[in-house]
Symmetry: C2
Subunit: 411 residues, 2 copies
């Protein structure tokens, strides 16, 4: 890991996370891998907390992901335990035992069922995890719980991240104010096919599991499923949404209830904010890139075309080199496999038309496009000329620093 | 382009290409883009030459690819015209006109139908091609034709290549010796979903279009469709196989004819050789990587898993960094979307078992694996534990030099 590197998008001052009633955190060091920093985060959730989750679709998903998927059936959560530095992925039977050990220790300490303990791990794949070191920290964690330790919690789950990703929002449900606060980690191995990275969002809204799950799934499709750093989908991607139900509004039983309008809007914006922050801390990032696709056969097709552009190493290196080589965007549209009309294709960069009707615009002047490419935020818009499908995806460029970070991650 | 960089796999002495009866070449400079080197290659093919072809599946394929696909219906070829430096892709109506101009000029000069002229272009996308500069060279090309100019022809079609890819083979059909000689170009934008790059193979075998086409399709699936440099599929990928039919063996009418056994074997080996040479000249290559997948649901699934590993930036950078981080191989298997049994997964590197039954092997010693990673040729074998499907794919690593080359390709 290259210690000196910090994303140019790292905020000078971290936004303040607004506490959520019913949520307390403790952090600590297990000695599992990192020295001199917290690598364990424990969240205690008030009795009655409902939970929703989305997870990686990887066929080699980690033991903690399997655990959470099972635990989600109950719809209730009391404890969240997260460690960084070891993903507990591809660890076979030992991995399953490690998760069981952690859940049992947390359940005993916090007085709940093991199935109300949610677990996530992030870090190196294939290294057996000694969960006794996590279990041993449970008593200290319980004592240290604080309703204010949000930033410490966000920092404890980081791996190659250069800044914690945090966001808070408020909304009203039925006239009653509710809070949503969350944080995420992730920098490499970011290519969602569901949720990506580890992200934890908390609200005091009084919503049951079924409603939360529907809102989360919908929100994920517009946020975490629209980002990519390196096209590599993690074994461990986990996004959990906890509702402590402390807010004093009347029960809401359906995700389609109109009283959820403001809450949905706030939740979706918060998820997009967190997802964009992950891209802004993408490994080696020097530019943040928004790719808007229109005119596709449908929204899914538009997203697939957007991701083909966003994942193209040739597009990403051109952006890193500030080279307005838009021919590579044409190539990426072509390789996506989705319908596109080559002879209607239109591209604009930074709002400036570059190509229309399948060729470069007459009298094309590269000067303003080259100037846009010198900025930190790059906008690429593509219309593929076959339908009304739209999507926006977000990515970063591919730089020398990405190679530095990943050619010696474990050393 | 970084001029100093040369692939470590560039051969000290280029293998000699054995001439094929009925094929003559001329090369020249059009002034379209490159100075001080040939950028035009013209091949004259004897009357009666049959042709087969496979092409990119890109939705934004170039005008020359469209032209060749149409011309292939006739099954006959008399002239091949290839220029480097400008792909004539995403050039709209002008691009179609450029191809027509080239075909008309070549047909007039060589006394054939325009539909017997095959055309390929490689280079920058989106720049209108002034085909009058190609047409103007036709008389000089006809005069300069030589049966010996194979190497010059192979060099004239290069772009970011650091060495020409050439191969020759001989075989017997029905007791009569036949020759196969071919060359290819390609270094970046290499991720075949059909043929990839520009590759031209010539033989004097007396085979009709239908037989050639079947043999070429089959051979491509085991060669060019099993390589990747950067996951980016070109707009221009073209592989043409010409048979001048000069060899004096009895006609062969079916691709399944047993007399073709030796020819098939030689052709397939030659296609694999050319495809591997492209990977060995992959942009910024420092290691050549062979990935063998077994135990998949089928051969297609095995290839898809292999390509997921081969295209993973995290796997490729780990190899560049000589870091035996095999957990990233596990990740890539998981993201492929194909069936895999996580708890039966086995991996070996350089023939050394690393993981079995879904976890690291007992007493794993990284020393010999790390030593293998220091070599130029890396072997990764993965068994995914669900069936009998097998495939081998080839790729290269992802290095700083890749970023150097692609961050300023056009400058």
């Amino acid at each position: 890991m290259s210690d000196a590197y910090v994303s140019p998008f790292a905020p000078a001052d971290l936004p303040k996370l607004v506490p959520v009633a019913g949520v307390r955190f403790a952090t600590g060091n297990t000695g599992l891998r990192y020295a001199g920093r917290d690598d364990l985060m424990v969240a205690e959730l008030a009795e009655g907390t409902a939970v929703a989750g989305v997870f990686t679709r990887s066929k080699t998903r980690s033991a903690p992901v399997d655990w959470c998927r099972d635990a989600l059936c109950g719809g209730k959560a009391r404890v969240l335990v997260v460690n960084s530095g070891n993903a507990n992925a591809f660890t076979g039977k030992l991995g399953v035992e490690a998760v069981e050990t952690t859940a049992a220790a947390a359940a005993a300490q916090f007085g709940c069922k093991p199935s109300e303990v949610f677990i996530a791990s992030t870090g190196t794949i294939g290294v057996p995890l000694d969960a006794s070191k996590i279990a041993a920290k449970m008593p200290a964690a319980k004592k240290a719980l604080s309703a204010k330790a949000w930033e410490k919690a966000a920092r404890a789950i980081m791996t190659t991240d250069t800044f914690p990703k945090v966001a808070s929002a408020t909304a009203e449900i039925d006239g009653v104010p509710v809070t949503i606060s969350g944080f995420a980690k992730g920098s490499g191995m970011i290519a969602p096919d569901m949720a990506t990275t580890l992200s934890f969002v908390f609200t005091d809204a009084n919503l049951p599991h079924e409603v939360l799950q529907a809102l989360l799934k919908d929100g994920t499709d517009r946020s975490f499923n629209c980002i990519t750093v390196d096209s590599d989908t993690s074994t461990s991607d986990t996004l959990l949404l906890f509702a402590t139900r402390a807010a004093d509004h009347k029960p809401v039983k359906k995700p389609t209830d109109k009283r959820l309008k403001a809450f949905k809007k706030a939740l979706n914006a918060l998820l997009i904010d967190l997802a964009q922050q992950i891209v802004k801390d993408g490994e080696g990032v020097s530019k943040f890139v928004a790719i808007s696709v229109s005119g596709a056969a449908g929204a899914k097709a538009a997203r697939k075309i957007g991701l083909a552009i966003a994942n193209s190493p040739l597009v990403k290196t051109a952006i890193a080199g500030e080279d307005a080589n838009w021919g590579r965007v044409v190539m990426a549209v072509g390789k996506s496999g989705e319908k596109a009309d080559r002879d209607k294709l239109a591209i604009s960069i930074g709002g400036i038309p570059v190509a229309a009707a399948g060729q470069v615009v007459p009298g094309y002047d590269e000067t303003p496009v080259a100037a846009h490419f010198k900025g930190r935020v790059i906008d690429i818009a593509v219309d593929v000329g076959v339908g009304k499908g739209k999507a926006t995806v977000w990515t970063c460029d591919l730089t020398h620093e990405y190679i530095n970070i990943n050619a010696d991650y474990r050393t």
